[in-house]
Point group: C2
Chain length 291, copies 2
Amino acid sequence: MLLGLALTACAAQPRAAAAPSASEPVTIAAVPPVFQYLYGSGEAVALDRQAYNSLVDAVRRRLAGERADPGAQRTSAVLAPTATIDQPLTLPCGDKPRAVVFDVDETLLLNLGYEYDEATHQGRPYDETRWTRWEQTGVDMVAAVPGALWAVDELRRLGVVVVFNSNRSAANAAFTEAALDHAGLGPAKHGDTLWLKGDLGSGSGKDSRRQAIAERYCVVAMGGDQLGDFSDLFTGLPQERRAKAEAPAIWGMWGRFWFVLPNPVYGSGLKGSADEVFPADKRWSDPGGKQ
Amino acid sequence: MLLGLALTACAAQPRAAAAPSASEPVTIAAVPPVFQYLYGSGEAVALDRQAYNSLVDAVRRRLAGERADPGAQRTSAVLAPTATIDQPLTLPCGDKPRAVVFDVDETLLLNLGYEYDEATHQGRPYDETRWTRWEQTGVDMVAAVPGALWAVDELRRLGVVVVFNSNRSAANAAFTEAALDHAGLGPAKHGDTLWLKGDLGSGSGKDSRRQAIAERYCVVAMGGDQLGDFSDLFTGLPQERRAKAEAPAIWGMWGRFWFVLPNPVYGSGLKGSADEVFPADKRWSDPGGKQ
């Protein structure tokens, strides 16, 4: 709907533009719209709850179907190493224990403390050493994403193993285990139910960890806030990534095997010039505006 | 995941801060992150497809359940006039024809032309007369939200009536009917399947129109990008709206009867100072940063 159009990102820019230098906090009014939306809106809560309700309902139906027809072949939500966007083959499940694989940051955990520091120091470039300090000292300044606690508890009650696949650093595994415990999402055990950047010599790509998890478990669903939380195939320029996400053999996965949480604050989706973001044939010029 | 943290809203602010005066386009690099996310990210496509897959799957199950047990009492996804957040009573359905009620803008339609003009004129305040010009002259510069065409076609194939409840102006009804037709989402007929701001003397609140629709139809699901697309009860400050969206009697509606599309670009969710957005006990200060 259009109520509140006055509060657009555009309208917010001049306030952001008024932000002072990185070392001093900006005025409270200047909190950027991406933070207002993800951490301050009921709409984001609704998207979060929708994702977790849909995920748990889908797993319940899957388990009921397996009980009703034990002989049927079941496939994993993890793509096979040979999968492509046009032929996204999934791995067979066999009798492996059932699991759901979740990303952590802005999927299960809201990094409220870190993003408050970011929101009050606008214009400051990303600093990997700052994020490392956050992993080590922010353990008690996170909160569970709305619906995440309920979903994780319900899945475990159903006998499904909850596995975490995060790009937090393997070197900080103990802190991430503690952060998940603090938020009530634990237990997470590094090397068993917690997989991190650096494990198996991995970089930010998560496929190698997904394959290792799929060797132990039948992954019935995955949850994440970035396309890379589901497959490393979602590469390319903005419109290429969009085309891949709704490719004929891919789009049916969303809300059925793959469950997405909203995150406009950071990540692979925040790329592109106006020419890359807006189609060439959809560029209106206000006939009543200054030419 | 954390890959791409460098591309945060914060990192984008200095570019926005460099935006020139409202009358001249900004540099292409300055497209704000909310536009990159909604119109340029594969993550938004995945959220859209997830919402529409979940909605259609839920309606299919609902209709199958009704066929299997025709006698059972069915309730509407529309709340009763006496409903509260604690007691969200829904209307009985009886034998009325089944319908799904959708918001239009950033739910079924992406206003690409209008938002391109906004993105290239940052700092310009919202102008209602500009939006009116957009409703009248932007009919061919919209596109269907990913998944919307499939969902609308599938619902109609299932015998479900598609009803539109938008805050576009009743005075521009013919233009909005044309925009929906252009995007392939029609037919929409004002006063029958298209309800607009001004109908029934309504303002931006949609409850009066929802009640009128529910008198004719059994509404099995609703779709929207704003909490007001589901009920006018979601009022208040940011954290109040969040609490209402996940109230004990409300949160089970998301992804089951109420389906949310992402929209960080405009709307009721883009409010709040840092103090209103971030909890007081979740404010980290980088121990390695300037004090």
